[in-house]
């Protein structure tokens, strides 16, 4: 019952407390008062009259006679235009010393939109990064992870995308970030004048672990609201593996049977319900999601990247500071790249095929074999491709990048060596002289 105070906690394990209560709903919030002060908690499991609550500030200081008061409503965050330029924690409290935001209070973690109400994505999100725009075009409403190992500059990549992407609003959700990374992201956006179109929900490694779980839900709830008001929103999340690890930690304290490497059996469903929020609303705005997912031990078959790969519409691999052309994939690219410029697909396929051949030649070279004429051409090509297209610092619009592609090809090969359809060659192959 609401406004009844409970004073008998049956069990305390990690950040999860268990008590007997009635008339409580799943996801409902409660307030827990202990000798350490007052913290919010969220109902995460109800079994008969036994209620499990996750205490946001952790269960430290809570004793079996601490007071629990149910608030009768689920987790909410405020929403208004005033969110822009601000930084909050996972529970929606300001962490930038600014004032609390007034505004409509919106529920987080609601259901996603029924497929029949969505529309087929058909607009590209321009980023100025050729490895994305040309080879794996990002599309409005797409959900894509950035698979990366620990040392890669994934936050730098996110920051550049935040800066360059042609969207209205950026929501940046940080989970388990190092404090330095948090400051880097904030300062970078501020310095480059992008903070004013950004809302940040930040959880750092030293914050209570349960707040980490709220970051994607809070970010996506706010994104959904902006999208229904006609805004094109890009949600950047980093790092989803920390989010999954937080779930794992809580599942273990709740003594759930783990399925794979200690992760809860519903990991797939949990990740999916977040990613499925990506959407293009008919006649209104949209949500596009890019989520860094670090791969422990560079292992794609680790449960987090593996489950993610089957949910998302492709993935970017970040390796050696570059977006890998192999393995990286935007599944939605063909929705848009047929309409950008007629040579887009040709350049995209040809350049990657030739780059694959270049890699083989590199192997031969490292074995000390003679380099044939053809190998020499490939070597020249591969080097130009890496420095002028793959390098993450390259920032050119799609059309310029396509022109550059033709120029590189013509510089390295004869037309018929590229396998490009004769029609295309006649139209686009740069004339010598």
């Amino acid at each position: 019952m609401h406004n009844v105070a409970y004073h008998r906690i049956e069990r305390i394990a990690g950040s999860v407390i268990t008590l007997r209560a009635e008339g409580v709903a799943n996801q409902e919030l409660a307030q827990v008062t202990s000798s350490f002060g007052t913290s919010l908690a969220r109902v995460i499991r109800i079994d008969g009259d036994m209620v499990d609550l996750q205490v946001f500030a952790g269960a430290r200081g809570i004793s079996t006679d601490s007071e629990v008061r149910f608030l009768g409503e689920p987790m909410k965050v405020p929403y208004s235009e005033a969110l822009l330029g601000r930084v909050f924690n996972g529970a929606g409290k300001p962490r930038d010393n600014g004032p609390e935001v007034d505004g409509e209070r919106i529920t987080i973690g609601g259901p996603s939109v029924n497929p029949a109400k969505r529309i087929i994505p058909k607009t590209m999100v321009r980023t100025g990064i050729p490895m994305i725009d040309v080879f794996n075009t990002l599309v409005v409403s797409q959900k894509l992870p950035i698979f990366s190992i620990a040392g890669e500059p994934y936050n730098e990549l996110l920051a550049r995308i935040a800066l360059q992407a042609e969207v209205d609003v950026i929501i940046l959700g940080g989970m388990g970030l190092k404090h330095d990374d948090y400051l880097y992201l904030k300062d970078f956006l501020e310095k480059n004048g992008a903070l004013s179109r950004t809302v940040m929900f930040m959880h750092t490694a030293s914050d209570p672990i349960v707040e980490c779980l709220l970051v994607p839900d809070a970010s996506l709830a706010v994104a959904e609201k902006f999208a229904t008001e006609g805004k094109n929103v890009l949600v950047l999340l980093t790092d989803m593996t920390n989010f999954a690890d937080a779930m794992k930690e809580i599942a273990i304290t709740m003594e759930q049977i783990p399925s794979n490497r200690g992760y809860p059996g519903d990991l797939y469903s949990q990740l999916a319900s977040r990613y499925e929020k990506a959407v293009d609303f008919e006649g209104s705005g949209s949500i596009t999601i890019l989520a860094v997912t670090t791969m422990p031990g560079d292992d794609v078959t680790h449960p987090v990247p593996d489950n993610t790969g089957y949910i998302t519409e492709g993935q970017f691999y970040l390796r050696k500071g570059r977006i890998e052309p192999f393995g990286s994939l935007s599944r939605l690219k063909q929705q848009v790249n047929g309409k950008t410029r007629s040579d887009h697909r040709t350049i995209m396929n040809t350049m990657i095929q030739l780059y694959a051949s270049y890699k083989e030649t590199l192997e031969k070279q490292s074995m000390g074999f003679n380099m044939s004429n053809w190998d020499q051409k490939l070597l020249k090509y591969g080097q130009r491709f890496e420095s002028e297209m793959m390098d993450l610092s390259v920032n050119i619009p799609l059309e310029k990048a396509l022109d550059l592609g033709w120029e590189i090809l013509a510089d390295c090969f004869a037309p018929e060596e590229t396998g490009i359809p004769t029609k295309m060659i006649n139209e686009y192959w740069p004339k010598k002289g």
Binding site: P121, A272, I311, E313, Q353
Partner: protein, 466 residues
């Protein structure tokens, strides 16, 4: 999407007459539905013989109207409406006998129809890591497969892809009927964020509907995407029931559940003598693309063809990324299997030469071996690979496959002489280019003939027999 409207009128035509003796699955009347004739059948759950007491006259009815009354020798009566209900986990067996698959089911994909064919009533699977092309392949199959009905059981897949199918299909024209593809396509959709029990049931709903249409003498293709999501749903449910887990925490009965599912495919002779078939294609998404895992292994034991998608090939943009050496099919295809075996042999030899070159270098390889390698790459580029996004190349009819295979085979069999490796390579690069151009023009058009002529003229120049 709305459910079937209960107030829509359908034009019923009686087939059975008063006094006829019928059994489960017999046709009582018909109703036209889109591109085919829907049979109104004696409910499958009825046992024994029944006599038709009355049957509605030809005319318009809503689906819940009683269109016939039946009576059995125990005096029990039964009203029949146009609605059949059936528990999805039980196979419908109201047919005369099961037959062996005997007719090829063409998909207009060269690598499948020629190298790893599928038959009406057969079963096959398309395992592969994510991003290797399962979804595109399924869309190609649902578009071009030579069947009457395609059922897409999407189990825990991306919401976006489902939208694409829902929105795009009504606009696509079925090349066989000239009508919207949607009229022959049924989509059962449970996206990843829907409840796990719904995901578990979706493949069964799919196969039950497939059996239902088979009872009408139709050929049905069921695409289950993905059976791994389905197996995971089984695992989640079994975990909640606290059953003792087997390998990788899957329930111990996983293998028999998978076998029983694929067993529901097949060709049957119905009681009226006509035949119908259910062909089942299960896509499998094994963790990290490693086929040594319970779902893939259990599936491989029971299917008739294995179209394994490979990351290596998709990285090289060699689509469809079906692995030409690892895949297999136990079915008979549209092209002389001896010639196909020879072509596969060339592919295997080419791979051997390529591996050897990695050890001894190009300079340590004889020019004859080098030409074998180039020929295998040529076959791969112009025949195995097919561009799903080129209007013409996307679909290659059986007739065109027979014609083109014959020509490519002739080229492969032509002994060739080259002065040096670079000359050979340049020749094959050009030949590949013009043969790909050939794939991209209309079959039997003037352009097609011209290109063919120039291809063979260039082959003649290097032929050792000339």
């Amino acid at each position: 999407m709305k459910a079937l409207p209960r107030d829509k009128k359908w034009a019923f035509t009686p087939v059975a007459k008063v006094g006829d003796v019928v059994v489960a699955g017999d046709t009582l009347g018909t109703v036209p539905e889109g591109v085919f004739t829907h049979r109104i059948m004696v409910p499958f759950r009825l046992l024994g013989k029944w006599t038709v007491e009355s049957v509605a006259a030809a005319g318009e009815h809503v689906v819940e109207d009683v269109v016939a009354k039946l009576k059995n020798d125990k005096g029990e009566t039964q009203d029949v409406t146009m609605v059949q209900t059936w528990p999805v986990k039980m196979p419908i067996k109201a047919f005369e006998e099961r037959l062996r698959p005997s007719k090829p089911l063409t998909m207009q994909q060269r690598i499948i129809d020629t190298f790893f064919p599928v038959m009406q009533g057969g079963t096959f699977c398309t395992p592969g890591p994510f991003g290797a092309g399962k979804t595109v392949l399924q869309q190609l199959m649902s578009r071009y497969a030579d069947v009457d009905i395609v059922i897409l059981a999407a189990c825990g897949e991306r919401a976006g892809e489902v939208v694409e199918t829902l929105r795009e299909f009504p606009e696509l024209i079925d090349p066989r009927t000239g009508k919207s593809l949607m009229e022959r396509t049924l989509i059962i959709c449970n996206t990843s964020s829907m409840p796990v029990a719904a995901r578990e049931a979706s493949v069964y709903t799919g196969v039950t509907l497939a059996e239902y249409y088979r009872q009408m003498g139709l050929n049905v293709l069921l695409l289950a995407d993905s059976t791994s999501r389905w197996a995971q749903a089984l695992r989640e449910m079994s975990g909640r029931l606290e059953e003792i887990p087997g390998e990788e925490a899957f329930p111990a009965y996983l293998e028999s559940v998978i076998a029983a599912f694929y067993e529901r495919g097949g060709v049957v002779r119905l009681k009226d003598g006509s035949t119908g078939s259910v062909t089942i294609c299960g896509s499998v998404s094994p963790a990290g693309g490693n086929f040594e895992e319970p779902v893939t292994q259990a599936t491989l034991k029971v299917v008739g063809a294995f179209l394994g998608l490979s990351r290596e090939r998709s990285d090289q943009r060699r689509f469809p990324a079906i692995h030409p050496l690892d895949s297999w099919s136990k079915y008979e295809g549209i092209i002389d299997s001896k010639k196909v075996a020879e072509a596969r042999h060339i592919l295997a030899n080419g791979v051997d030469v390529n591996n050897m070159m990695k050890v001894v270098g190009e300079e340590g390889t004889s020019i004859d071996d080098f030409v074998i390698y180039l020929k295998s790459e040529y076959l791969d580029a112009v025949y195995l690979q097919q561009d799903a996004y080129n209007e013409i190349d996307a679909a290659c009819s059986a007739e065109r496959q027979k014609y083109v295979f014959d020509k490519v085979y002739t080229i492969l069999k032509t002994p060739m002489k080259f002065s040096e490796k670079d000359v050979a390579r340049t020749f094959f690069l050009k030949l590949t280019q013009s043969t790909k151009d050939w794939n991209r023009v209309k079959f039997d058009s003037q352009e097609f003939k011209d290109l063919e002529q120039s291809i063979f003229a260039s082959v003649k120049e290097v032929s050792a027999n000339a």
